[in-house]
């Protein structure tokens, strides 16, 4: 297997062998047949270095750059990073050298040259409030920009929870009227890669799939790649046995916490969160939130910010006590009212009592 990518990788000290292994792992993670790993490696390796690479346009909206950070800085030098060498990242505000009119020009050129073929990656949510005035680039609202760029895209990747589901900008009370990409664009294939931020390998896996097969991988009903979001954190969590035994850390510094018991009671949202953190981990497989002693926040789920509190156990109600006093008062009032009515009725019945005589036994 030869090609510009292999050469580049070699320069970074990544052998051909480890590249193949990486592709095989990626394929298996995405539940593809073993042969797909090789196909993937070949497709990527064969991509010409100087010739035209698939164009990718990355639009940032209401976002924090965390997603970009996640991808680019996760662990370096990385094979993940290399994947970006496979594509022509024609517009990415944070990474690109160009600025101002130059940048805009790059964007429009890329759109024109690759019409109908480019991949659009979006991070950040789209504000609809005040006609989109909350977030503008080059005098255009995010909504306008998204519609314009989406028109010629082959597919759209909603990167991170904001683009996928509205994320933190959409959190109650959602002052900017933030919505997700799929709320705006209805006529293009969209894949969501939620997470705050998303796991790098998920991103590269989806890209690799797109490069190899020219299509998006299989998705769940929330538009996420099934391969990575098929199971809950809880199901794959190495602390799961403690949950089953009923062993829970009660505070972040008690004995249970030190012994690595289940963090359910400390608010872990693992049971309702679909993501691959428990298996893929972060920072090159170093660790992940639960392993570091903190419960899952559920960041890859819609509206995770409004889930009732990160440190409130999942089984806990939001705040039912606030209705107690009112309910008890109303119940007591109703009860007392009925009891007065009942007593009146009963004494009426008593008052109307006519002593029964023998004649009164007959109709």
């Amino acid at each position: 297997m030869q090609g510009p990518l292999i050469d580049t990788l070699a320069r970074y000290g990544v052998s051909r062998r480890s590249f193949l292994k990486y592709c095989a792992t990626l394929a298996s993670m995405m539940a593809l047949p073993p042969s797909a790993g090789r196909a993937m490696a070949e497709a990527m390796a064969a991509a010409p270095a100087a010739a035209k690479r698939p164009s990718v346009i990355w639009l940032p909206f209401q976002e924090c750059t965390g997603c970009t950070e996640s991808i680019t800085r996760s662990h370096s030098p990385s094979i993940e990073g290399m994947i970006f060498d496979m594509v022509s990242l024609d517009y990415q505000e944070t990474l690109m050298a160009a600025a101002g009119h130059q940048a805009e020009e790059a964007l429009h050129n890329a759109m024109k040259e690759n019409e109908g073929k480019y991949l659009l990656i979006v991070d950040g949510s789209v504000p609809l409030g005040l006609d989109g005035a909350y977030s503008c680039i080059a005098g255009k609202s995010n909504l306008e920009a998204l519609k314009e760029v989406a028109k010629g895209a082959a597919a759209i990747v909603a990167m991170g929870s904001c683009a996928a589901y509205g994320g933190i900008p959409k959190a109650n009370p959602n002052p900017t009227g933030a919505v997700s990409v799929s709320d705006v664009i209805k006529d293009k294939p969209i894949i969501n890669i939620p997470g705050c931020p998303p796991i790098p390998v998920v991103m590269t896996g989806v890209l690799a799939h797109f490069l190899t097969f020219g299509s998006l991988p299989e998705m769940d009903k929330l538009g996420r790649p099934k391969a990575f979001y098929g199971e809950t954190i809880h199901d794959r969590c190495y602390r799961r046995p403690f949950y089953d035994q009923g062993k829970f850390a009660k505070t972040f510094d008690d004995e249970g916490a030190r012994k690595g018991w289940c963090l359910f009671e400390l608010g872990c949202k693992g049971p309702v969160t679909y993501n691959a953190c428990a298996t893929v981990k972060w920072n090159g497989g170093t660790s992940w939130p639960v392993e570091s002693g903190h419960g899952c926040l559920g960041c890859s789920e819609p509206d995770f910010w409004d889930g009732g509190g990160f440190y409130k156990a999942l089984s806990m109600p939001a705040d039912p006590l606030k209705v107690v006093a009112g309910a008890v008062a109303v119940g007591a009032a109703a009860g007392v009212a009925v009891s007065f009515a009942n007593r009146a009725k009963k004494s009426g019945a008593k008052g109307g009592h006519e002593t029964t005589t023998l004649a009164d036994l007959e109709k």
Binding site: D235, V272, P302, V328, A334, G335
Partner: protein, 221 residues
């Protein structure tokens, strides 16, 4: 509404509404029932140890002595015990439930291993199905049954079934099933004060009255 919004609603607004109606209903119904009062018994009492309202409150939890009732209606007794005790175990000794109760009233106690609770849930489900079959099969039960009997069976059964299915990850994604589970509990809470399920509260009063009225005569019922 997506799954998480559904779950958030049932844990928040939905639960508030359900708990509100439940408490309101329980208090209203208890006052409505017990404020009717009763006349003082003027006959001279016969005092016999063991014959009192309080004795009957406890004694009636067991089948009557020597009457062969268990043999006559084994499903009612065995099925009844299994599903009542099963419900109590599942509701009060499952760790996430304890956590829930703790968050509401601040009381907590040790739970049972979830595998054991799971087994109890399966047994409880089985017992409830058997009890339902008995209601369909036994002429007396069928004769007495009204819409309310089938309805209350269903609203009691659903929380157990959905809870078990959520834990087992059956049929629907966990989040959806958990939300359905909480929703089914909310329906149960709303329905309880206004149906025969209210026996959970009045059973103690009923036993007390029966025990007191007969205890006055020196009869330990």
């Amino acid at each position: 509404m997506n799954e998480m919004q559904f779950l958030t609603w049932v844990r928040g607004t939905g639960l508030n509404i359900a708990v509100g109606i439940f408490l309101l209903g329980v208090i209203w119904r208890l006052i409505e029932i017990y404020s009717l009062g009763r006349k003082k018994d003027l006959s001279a009492p016969r005092n016999v140890p063991g014959a009192s309202g309080w004795h009957t409150v406890f004694r009636r939890s067991m089948p009557p002595k020597d009457m062969g009732m268990v043999k006559k209606s084994p499903v009612s007794y065995i099925g009844g015990y299994v599903f009542h005790i099963g419900l109590a175990v599942v509701v009060f000794l499952f760790a996430p439930h304890i956590k829930f109760i703790e968050s509401v009233v601040g009381l907590s106690w040790p739970g049972l291993p979830s595998q054991f609770v799971d087994l109890v849930a399966v047994i409880t489900i089985a017992a409830m199905v058997v009890v339902l079959a008995d209601r369909i099969n036994k002429p007396v039960k069928r004769y007495l049954s009204t819409f309310e009997d089938w309805f209350t069976w269903t609203v009691t059964f659903l929380p157990v079934l959905t809870g078990w299915m959520a834990v087992q990850h059956l049929l629907l994604p966990y989040t959806t099933m958990l939300a359905l589970h909480i929703l089914s509990v909310e329906i149960l809470l709303v329905v309880l004060p206004f149906t025969k399920l209210f026996h959970a509260f009045t059973v103690w009063g009923s036993r007390y009255y029966n025990g007191a009225v007969n205890g006055h005569k020196g009869v330990a019922v």
